[in-house]
């Protein structure tokens, strides 16, 4: 009994409208804090930027950040707890306010008195109209009408009462879907050289209940980069084959950014790429692998390789000639792939540029729930603007009194009441 006394007021409070508004604003405030304080940085970073002196930024020092876990704000228990309370608030509000409201909205309500506070429109018209005519007029405007002796009751826009429930349900389900993603989702990031097989090894994120498959085998058949005329990257393409244990190809697709490969719950994304090195043929038979080092100048990437301490090779684009420099930085020659040349009396042939493609592999069981509820949320948000209107017509002292109420578009509703009155007067 004691628990009931404490428990029920708390549950009721969760469904309270003012509390919901406060909760929305609190989540906003904490989210703002998360954009001001840099997230997921090292402790040294916070010690340097939020020192323990008097000139504190926002009155916050690194110890406060560490204590309240403000460096991982969106994943700490406080914020997740707040989202849980938000979810519970949605559930309570839906069950205690909106569901009964919908149930009540479907009932007929004959009003016998006219002294109402919630009357939006009140008008008198001469009592010369038979009820069936009024019912017809109202049904033309999609009103559900109930008639009983001298009283007429109409309502329309029940969807406007149902839609907020669907909005809440979709938000609850999105939170549930996110929780499923958090618990069962798993992500891998692999950097695979062209032509190589790969397994799922490099885990970047995994949920507590996630399972890691050991029989997943893929192969990168080809990796290409498409360039714009100005030399900037247009698109990356990786041809991926998924192979079974018998080394038979069971799925194949050329993926690119925005065009992933979907396979048995896995999604393979084109994420990154790198140039590893050059395969050179020196002389007639001597083949060497020369590593490449990346450098950036004016937002343009370059790869540099040096060998024999005499020659430096520079690549700016995978499909442009490779520039060859000596120790003094003088341009000796520009080389194309498979082209045999003599540089500094050394017979040289660049067989290939060894490049790797970055593939992100993800399995997320929460996605179907999230996507379907995204759709429901969009639909129900739009439908929720449908107004729920009620009309009462009372035969009162040789006059018909029209009065009504609506939850939205009050001016439009007044227009309707006036037009209803005018139509009746014009008709009779």
């Amino acid at each position: 009994m004691k628990y009931k006394i404490i428990f029920w007021p708390c549950i009721k409070k969760l469904g309270n409208l003012s509390f919901s508004i406060f909760l929305l604003l609190l989540i906003s405030g904490i989210s703002i804090l998360g954009t001001i304080i840099e997230q997921d940085q090292t402790i040294e970073y916070y010690q340097a930027n939020y020192p323990l002196d008097t000139n504190k930024v926002l009155g916050i020092d690194w110890k406060t950040i560490e204590f309240f876990k403000l460096n991982e704000l969106y994943s700490n228990w406080g914020f997740l707890g707040l989202l849980t309370i938000f979810g519970l608030s949605l559930v309570v509000c839906t069950l205690s306010t909106q569901m009964p409201g919908l149930k009540n909205a479907r009932r007929w309500k004959f009003k016998k008195q006219t002294g109402l506070n919630d009357i939006l429109s009140k008008d008198k018209i001469p009592n010369i109209v038979c009820p069936s005519s009024l019912v017809y007029f109202l049904s033309q405007s999609n009103y559900y009408t109930f008639h009983q002796s001298f009283y007429l009751y109409s309502y329309k826009g029940l969807l406007g009462r149902l839609a907020p429930i669907l909005v809440h349900i979709s938000l609850i389900n999105i939170l549930i879907g996110s929780l499923i993603s958090l618990l069962t989702g798993v992500s891998f990031q692999e950097m695979i050289p062209e032509g190589e097989l790969f397994h799922l090894k490099n885990i970047i994120k995994s949920g507590k209940l996630s399972s890691i498959p050991d029989d997943f085998i893929g192969q990168i058949n080809d990796f290409n980069i498409e360039y714009h005329s100005d030399g900037s990257v247009k698109q990356f393409y990786s041809n991926i084959a998924i192979i079974n244990k018998k080394f038979k190809v069971i799925a194949n697709k050329t993926i690119s950014v925005n065009e992933p490969l979907y396979f048995q719950g896995f999604t393979l994304y084109q994420s990154d790429w790198q140039v590893n090195g050059l395969k050179l043929k020196i002389g007639r038979k001597h083949i060497v692998h020369v590593p490449l080092y990346k450098t950036t100048n004016n937002n343009q990437s370059y790869w540099i390789a040096s060998f024999d301490n005499k020659i430096t090779l520079l690549i700016s684009d995978l499909y442009k000639p490779i520039l060859c420099y000596d120790n003094n930085g003088s341009l000796l020659q520009s080389l194309n792939l498979k082209e045999k040349v003599i540089v500094n009396n050394i017979p040289l042939e660049i067989i290939e540029i060894i490049k790797s493609t970055g593939i992100q592999i993800k399995k997320d069981q929460g996605i179907p729930i999230i996507y379907s509820n995204f759709f429901l949320l969009m639909l129900s948000t739009i439908v929720s603007y449908n107004s729920y209107s009620q009309l009462w017509l009372i035969n009162y002292c040789n006059e018909i009194k029209i009065f009504g109420t609506t939850n939205r578009a009050k001016l439009k509703f007044e227009h309707y009441v006036l037009s209803l009155k005018n139509m009746i007067i014009n008709l009779y």
Binding site: L17, S18, S20, I21, L24, L25, I27, S28, S31, I32, G34, T35, Q39, Y74, S178, S187, H228, D230, S232, V233, K234, Q235, F236, S256, V257, N258, P260, T267, Y269, S271, Q360, K362, I367, I370, Y371, F374, L377, M378, T381, I382, Y385, K410, L411, E414, H415, L418, S419, K421, N422
Partner: protein, 311 residues
């Protein structure tokens, strides 16, 4: 005459016309009986809309993608959206108040885009791989439309608060109205269908505060579902491109904050105890939040949505 010159001229002319438009709106507010100002401002707004639309259209044809890839293009598109909504609202309300509120914002945006942004940021450049998607048009256009609606709705709420503070609570739009606003002001043209007696009844009932508040609510009511669709389409696109529908990127987070602020505004409107001033304060905060979300985050130079420019 190259397409670049035509495009620049369109923007420059629209800037000049915005100045003329602003003056004519303010004159219309001051001298409501001189109808010439009303027509001038209406026609000028339509011309501005066409000019900015032409400028964006030229870019679209030249670059073969919808011009929303950099800050300059998105600022122009925002102005185009604002002028579109302004034209529609004016058609429905027949009031100079809306134009005189929105035009300074449009003027500021065009001035900022044309004068403050470096010339290399105004140039159209090829799309990076992540933006090469049909989602670009879907997500960004809806977000910009929602920002436009929310900016206008919030501006009206700020106006509501200003009038509220000055305690013009009982000024009615009637034949003897206390403000220099024509009889038609802020009342839908649909009312002309009704007889004089009924019309006067409505005019007397609707005061300025109520009509501004109602209009603000209706516009925010349009902007909120658009923002919802925009955030959702962005999440779906992010999942298609990066494998994560939500990564707490600063822009994403601020879009969520904007959504939460306006969700609390719409909930506050349902609360009987929160009528009038309190929801308007929330919407006014929303005005600031929208601008931080749209511009502020980009200038931090952080995150997946950053245009990488610090003024």
């Amino acid at each position: 005459m190259t397409s670049n010159i035509i495009e620049n001229n369109c923007v420059n002319i629209s800037f000049a016309l915005l100045l003329i438009c602003l003056l004519s709106y303010w004159c219309d507010l001051t001298f409501p009986k001189i109808h010439w100002f009303k027509y001038t401002s209406k026609i000028t707004t339509i011309i501005i809309n066409i000019l900015i639309g032409t400028s964006l259209g030229i870019r679209w044809v030249n670059m073969q993608y919808f011009p929303l890839s950099n800050l300059y293009e998105s600022l122009l598109f925002l102005t185009w959206c604002l002028t579109c909504i302004q034209i529609i609202l004016e058609q429905n309300t027949n009031s100079p108040i809306i134009g005189s509120l929105i035009t300074p914002i449009e003027l500021f945006i065009v001035a900022f885009a044309s004068l403050s942004l470096p010339s290399d940021m105004q140039q159209a450049s090829p799309l990076v791989p992540a933006l090469r998607s049909n989602w670009l048009m879907m997500h960004v256009t809806i977000m910009m439309l929602s920002y436009s609606c929310l900016i206008i709705g919030s501006l009206l709420s700020i106006l509501f608060l200003i009038i509220w503070k000055r305690q013009f609570k009982t000024i009615l739009i009637s034949n003897s109205g206390g403000l220099p606003v024509s009889k038609q002001t802020l009342i839908s043209q649909e009312q002309t269908k009704f007889n004089n007696k009924a019309r006067n009844k409505l005019y007397n009932r609707m005061n300025i505060l109520e009509s501004i508040d109602n209009l603000s609510y209706r516009i925010i009511g349009l902007g909120f579902p658009l923002l919802t669709i925009g955030i959702i389409s962005g999440a779906v696109w992010a999942n298609e491109a990066w494998g994560s529908y939500w990564s707490w990127d600063p822009k994403e987070t601020w879009a969520l904050i904007t959504w939460l602020i306006f969700a609390s505004y719409l909930h506050a409107r349902l609360n009987k105890l929160w009528q009038g001033e309190k929801p308007a304060i929330l919407a006014s905060i929303g005005f600031l939040i929208v601008w931080i979300c749209y511009l502020g985050v980009n200038f931090l130079g952080k995150g997946l949505h950053s245009y990488g420019w610090i003024p």
